[in-house]
């Protein structure tokens, strides 16, 4: 039987380094492992590149790292619900790279799936096209979007076994299964850690083989 991957929050903090590229699952903080972000705030690591669907809210999700001045670059599709992002972007303290949401999902998936990139029609004729190759296939134009990986991915599961087989309930799935495939180190946060064999294998949305560590999140 594989060993439990559950670690204490302090051990998680010891994995964090300055300048890391970190993927964070969730969509407007739905399906975001909030307490792993709290631990990153406590650790004080700096110069982070954060890859997330959105900029969260000023006091929730990756917004907490942004408010604490720990983020150098944010790669996201939408930052409109966190006014701090616009403020810090305009003052030059935060670099923001906007990526269409479907492209963001697919370039993360491409990294995790070992593909050299994605051909997508999304963004043709817009600012997104700048600096990218346009490739014609069967008479249709596509942008070549290159794979996107990270040093660390923080993913959320509604519940998981201690090997890391996780289930995302409802709309908490979003980017979590994709990011679990695309980073060198993958840490899962979940409120509910169960014994192996107690989760229906066919309902697993994040597969345990991809998970390095699990942090059991305390109910608040």
């Amino acid at each position: 039987m594989p060993q439990s991957k559950v670690i204490a929050k302090d051990k998680f903090k010891s994995l964090l380094k300055n300048n890391m590229k970190v993927m964070v699952g969730g969509f407007m903080t739905d399906g975001t492992p909030e307490q792993l972000i709290d631990a990153m705030v406590e650790s004080g690591v700096k110069n982070l590149t954060i890859i997330c669907n959105d900029g969260g809210y000023p006091d929730r999700g990756v917004g907490k790292l942004i408010a604490n001045g720990q983020v150098k670059t944010l790669i996201a599709s939408h930052v409109g619900l966190n006014p701090n992002v616009a403020k810090l972007m305009n003052s030059g303290e935060l670099e923001v790279q906007l990526v269409p949401q479907g492209t963001l999902a697919e370039i993360i998936r491409a990294k995790g799936a070992g593909l050299g990139g994605v051909l997508t029609p999304t963004g043709l004729g817009t600012l997104v096209q700048e600096g990218k190759d346009v490739i014609t296939v069967s008479g249709k134009q596509y942008l070549l979007e290159k794979p996107l990986g990270a040093d660390l991915a923080l993913v959320d599961a509604s519940y998981a076994d201690n090997f890391g087989n996780g289930v995302n309930i409802g709309t908490t799935r979003n980017f979590n299964p994709l990011m679990a495939m695309a980073a060198d180190l993958v840490v899962m946060g979940t409120y509910d850690v169960r014994e192996p064999g107690t989760i229906d294998p066919s309902s697993v949305t994040i597969h345990g083989v991809l998970i390095d560590y699990i942090v059991k999140i305390e109910e608040v």
């Binding site: 599709s77 409109g80 972007m89 949401q101 999304t122 817009t126 997104v128 949305t205």
Partner: protein
């Protein structure tokens, strides 16, 4: 009836039984309130759901939200999925209709709705994929801005969300189809005139042979 209600009530008439529809956050969301009860329209939410129900106020179920982060219900036929699948549906042409708001729209069907350089940069979210992949793209907007300037332009000036991607524009005054020759005026509200609509529209309008009306009351 206010402009927003007139617009969304008219847009609802565009939806057909069995359509898979994505409604943007804000004004487009209100279209759901006017879908006739005798047709079955299935709502897709790009954060990972088909069969979205209504926004639930006062409750806090973080397991079911819409693309604006609000708690919603899911209907009995609904299902949930990850973001790659969600956008495969969108890009792959499985979404029949997308309805979205805009900052600018023009006679070529160009849409600009995700940034005003130097002022406001909320980001495109899923909009670029939605306007690229949906079979029919409907833009909803008030006909003029708060200063009385036309929002139906000859040429968008803001960074584009999508190029030549809009199929139909619905305002509180008019329904306009984007054709290869330009904007075709199909209908006007029953409290205005064709001349009034032309006067309030920067883009040239091609008049349909028979211009219908829709209710503004």
């Amino acid at each position: 009836m206010d402009a927003k209600q007139i617009i969304v009530r008219r847009v609802a008439k565009e939806l057909k039984n069995g359509d898979l529809v994505n409604l943007g956050i804000g004004l487009p969301t209100l279209v759901a309130d006017y879908i006739p009860s005798d047709i079955n329209v299935i709502l897709q939410s790009e954060n990972g759901m088909i069969g979205m129900g209504h926004i639930v106020d006062g409750e806090h179920d973080r397991n079911l939200t819409n693309a604006g982060g609000r708690t919603v219900t899911i209907l009995p036929h609904g299902s949930c999925f990850d973001s790659a699948f969600s956008f495969a549906l969108i890009r792959g042409g499985h979404v029949d209709v997308t309805v979205l708001g805009t900052l600018e729209v023009d006679q070529h069907g160009n849409i600009a709705n995700y940034m005003i350089p130097g002022k406001m940069v909320p980001g495109m979210g899923g909009a670029m994929d939605l306007v690229t992949g949906s079979k029919k793209v409907i833009v909803v907007t008030t006909h003029t801005d708060k200063f009385g300037n036309s929002k139906i332009l000859k040429q968008c000036s803001l960074p584009l969300t999508g190029m030549k991607c809009c199929d139909l524009i619905v305002t509180e005054l008019a329904v306009m189809e984007v054709t290869t020759d330009g904007l075709k005026l199909l209908e006007i509200a029953d409290n205005t005139t064709v001349d009034d609509v032309i006067a309030k529209t920067e883009a040239p309008l091609i008049l349909a042979k028979q211009i219908g009306t829709f209710s503004a009351n």
